[in-house]
Symmetry: C2
Subunit: 219 residues, 2 copies
């Protein structure tokens, strides 16, 4: 009754793309997300529909059933718990863990995940600031976002950084960006997230690379 890696990946993609009110996702959107062909997606949607993990009608897109939602949310939970493990326990960097967690999330063992969760102290957010669903699929809304994701006009407070290399912290100190400071975004480039912001009445410019490493609590 276990699903294949491919089936699990489709469910996760559908969950991720379910933005519309009814949670419907188009064939092409899934194909783009999974870097596969639309024809392959159609085949898989039929299969998942037969297993009652999604509702699907030809030409009308697909949406997760309760069962499908439960499975997809569990995958997200596993993925994010493993990311916390890789960063917090093994000391890897936040930008190298995604791919590995993409593999680890398919490991089949509920007991393993509950033990891991306990060992990590039931974390509520992963290293990217995304919430970790609990075993019942519920999660806290995201408390912090990378500075790079704020839109012009948004304000917030610096909560921390992802990289804790001394050189990086020193760099921020020199710019006057320390934990607790209030900031307001002026511009944020669509393409590379280069951005400008106000801190203590000054204007400051940051590269996208730096901005992605600074976590903000919006106000």
């Amino acid at each position: 009754m276990g699903l294949s890696y491919a089936e699990e990946n489709y469910l996760k993609a559908i969950l991720k793309l379910s933005g519309t009110p009814d949670g419907t996702v188009s064939t092409n959107a899934i194909a783009a997300q999974l870097a596969t062909s639309a024809a392959s997606v159609t085949d898989m949607l039929k299969k998942l529909s037969d297993k009652e993990l999604i509702t699907y009608q030809r030409y009308k897109g697909a949406s997760l059933t309760e069962d499908g939602q439960r499975i997809a949310t569990t995958l997200v939970r596993k993925h994010r718990l493993w990311e916390v493990f890789l960063v917090k326990t093994l000391g890897m960097t936040w930008d190298e863990v995604h791919e590995i967690a993409e593999e680890l999330e398919h490991i089949q063992s509920d007991r393993l995940i509950e033990r891991l969760d306990q060992f990590l102290g039931h974390p509520k957010f992963d290293p990217h600031g995304d919430p970790i669903p609990n075993a019942q699929g519920k999660y806290t809304l995201r408390a912090q976002v990378p500075l790079s994701e704020l839109k012009p006009g948004q304000e917030g407070i610096v909560i921390g950084v992802r990289e804790d290399e001394t050189s990086f912290l020193k760099h921020l100190n020199e710019k006057g960006l320390t934990v607790g400071k209030s900031i307001k975004v002026i511009t944020n480039d669509d393409y590379d997230n280069t951005l400008s912001l106000h801190v203590d009445g000054h204007e400051l410019n940051l590269s996208g690379k730096v901005a992605r490493n600074i976590m903000i609590k919006t106000t």
Copy 2:
């Protein structure tokens, strides 16, 4: 250039079965080990031979090349490191971790494994007493074996136990079996490892289940 799960499992099976001087393994032996058909094994042996991971001649069996050996040994290393992690770090029991490690060993990331090894303190043996190859494929010979694997006549010293539940330790204390005691095996049932042994001049009977949990250094 990553191998499929199936290919990796075949290499591991061949390594495990390589007992003969030239390390040759028969088709049927592999089929039995992997619970698959001889026909499937033949197909896979051809493929692994094309990739130069084994040497293979029709009707003559297969043996690992240096490349094949390196890959198989790395799989064993990963498997055993994960077992240590599951038991020591997550507190799972030695008998429930094998299956999970069987999945974890296929995760592709050298950096992950080296980090894990470091986090665990470069362990030399897994929870079953089997040696863990280092990154170069070398390993220390097994220092301890479960009491259940000793043959009649063999002697040794009690090194420790796998389960460290108080009730289990209490049970052993009552029998006079504590760390440091010298023992000699009298009989060991082929089927269920029920065994009798001498300790301090007394004769003692143990179930296979208990004997598998007591680690011995042979003398």
